[in-house]
């Protein structure tokens, strides 16, 4: 069976489903491409808020349900899940699965589990000045967890989002973007967005960027 997507390597598996590179799923029989993107970052940084914003704001066009499991304290216990259907392109149904990980330090094993099979990462950094150390620790944990799946943070599609930038209007001390870049992105040189997951600026742009990068990566991986 030959892929109708020009850049996909044709393959003829016994089953109709194959996993490539970072584990995106191409189902030739069903004509589906599924990709997994994970929002990662320190606790209370705004990962869930990102998905909630997109879900509420573009609800009429997304047409799927967001699944979220929270503790009493309104914190993510396991993960949030928001599937998005991009639609059919050249006969293939493109589906993106968006996940968040629980940010609290104690849920390290859950974070590792959610990262399994990930194709792209949005690292949601907290811009609050008091959260500088937590950002760095969380990025390190991301690199370690990816390494446990033999993936490199240097290679996986990655977008940084410096969240809560709107709080500067409220007089709350924030980390300058230059510091965030220096702390987190000086080696990775990944694209970044200054955003407010609560209010919306650059939330959709972040998501669009990571989806495009992930699909590009999938294409490169297959050619």
């Amino acid at each position: 069976m030959e892929s109708r997507l020009g850049f996909l390597k044709p393959f003829e598996p016994n089953g109709s489903q194959e996993r490539f590179g970072f584990m995106a799923i191409i189902n030739l029989k069903k004509k589906e491409v599924q990709s997994k993107i994970v929002y990662y970052g320190p606790g209370r940084g705004g990962k869930t808020t990102n998905l909630e914003y997109v879900y509420k704001k573009f609800r009429s066009r997304i047409q799927t349900e967001m699944v979220t499991i929270k503790t009493h304290g309104d914190r993510t216990l396991f993960f949030d899940f928001l599937p998005i259907q991009i639609g059919t392109i050249r006969g293939y149904d493109i589906r993106i699965q968006l996940y968040t990980v629980p940010g609290q330090v104690k849920y390290e094993s859950t974070r590792r589990l959610v990262l399994r099979g990930v194709d792209g990462i949005v690292f949601v950094a907290d811009s609050l000045a008091v959260r500088r150390k937590e950002n760095v620790l969380s990025l390190k944990s991301l690199a370690d967890n990816l390494a446990s799946y033999k993936k490199s943070i240097l290679e996986i599609p990655l977008v940084f989002q410096y969240n809560k930038r709107d709080l500067t209007d409220d007089g709350i001390p924030l980390l300058p973007v230059e510091w965030l870049e220096q702390d987190l992105n000086s080696e990775l040189k990944a694209p970044y967005f200054e955003a407010s997951a609560l209010k919306g600026p650059n939330v959709a742009q972040t998501m669009k960027k990571i989806i495009l990068m992930t699909i590009d990566s999938l294409r490169n991986d297959l050619t």
């Binding site: 850049f7 304290g73 991009i86 609050l128 709107d166 001390p173």
Partner: protein
């Protein structure tokens, strides 16, 4: 060459789909933010956001001072005033206990503030709706208070068994949520006093005592009801 064109075409199709999917069509969120920028609650919100991460004497003092400022502004609005008193009570408790405070305390503070913001900023909200929201937050407050008391009791009564290892050094004692306020307070203050009185009584004595207390409460309720009926008749 043809494959490159194919790839570019595919990418641009995906981009088009994403542009359509994430097309902006409602400026609601930014409008709400703009409303708050000019509102008396602005300062209070800024402080609450900062204490989410940093609980120090400085931040808690700022919070309590700001609550007083806002109380002054809303001195004629009993509903908002009660919201602020709830915030003040929990704020004083968190200040006294800091890292030892019950983990739900900041959640309840945030919940009370969110309700307060909604009540203060939503145009055309009826009094009944406001009262309903207030009652929900009062219930949250009371629940938190119970949790604090329960945790304190649990800390004081560790299970002791023969041969068990010595208990760890006691942590600094957790202070309870202050119950000296004058709003719902009457009731919660009575609860706290009762707890103190029951300490050291036998179960029978405590039961008899509690029964008398219940009778007193019922009598007081009837007195209040009569007074309200009288007022209602006078207003007719």
């Amino acid at each position: 060459m043809a494959q490159q064109r194919d790839e570019d075409n595919f990418r641009s199709q995906v981009e088009d789909r994403l542009d359509h999917l994430f097309q902006e069509d409602s400026p609601e969120a930014t409008e709400e933010h703009a409303r708050l920028r000019e509102h008396p609650l602005k300062g209070l919100k800024a402080i609450l956001l900062s204490i989410d991460w940093e609980i120090t004497n400085g931040t808690m003092d700022s919070l309590l001072n700001e609550i007083k400022n806002v109380e002054y502004i809303y001195s004629e609005d009993k509903i908002i005033l009660t919201f602020l008193q709830l915030l003040g009570s929990i704020g004083r408790y968190v200040k006294a206990n800091k890292g030892r405070a019950h983990p739900n305390a900041t959640r309840v503070i945030n919940s009370v503030y969110e309700a307060l913001e909604k009540v203060a900023l939503t145009e055309g909200m009826s009094r009944a709706e406001k009262e309903k929201m207030l009652l929900e937050e009062v219930a949250n407050f009371k629940k938190l208070k119970e949790q604090v008391v329960l945790r304190k009791v649990e800390k004081k009564e560790p299970a002791v068994s023969k041969g068990a290892p010595p208990p760890p050094a006691p942590a600094p004692e957790e202070k309870e949520i202050s119950v000296t306020e004058s709003f719902l307070p009457e009731e919660t203050a009575v609860e706290a006093r009762a707890e103190a009185r029951f300490a050291g009584m036998s179960p029978h004595e405590a039961f008899a005592y509690a029964l008398e207390e219940i009778k007193d409460v019922i009598r007081a309720e009837f007195r209040a009801l009569r007074a309200e009926i009288k007022l209602w008749r006078e207003s007719k």
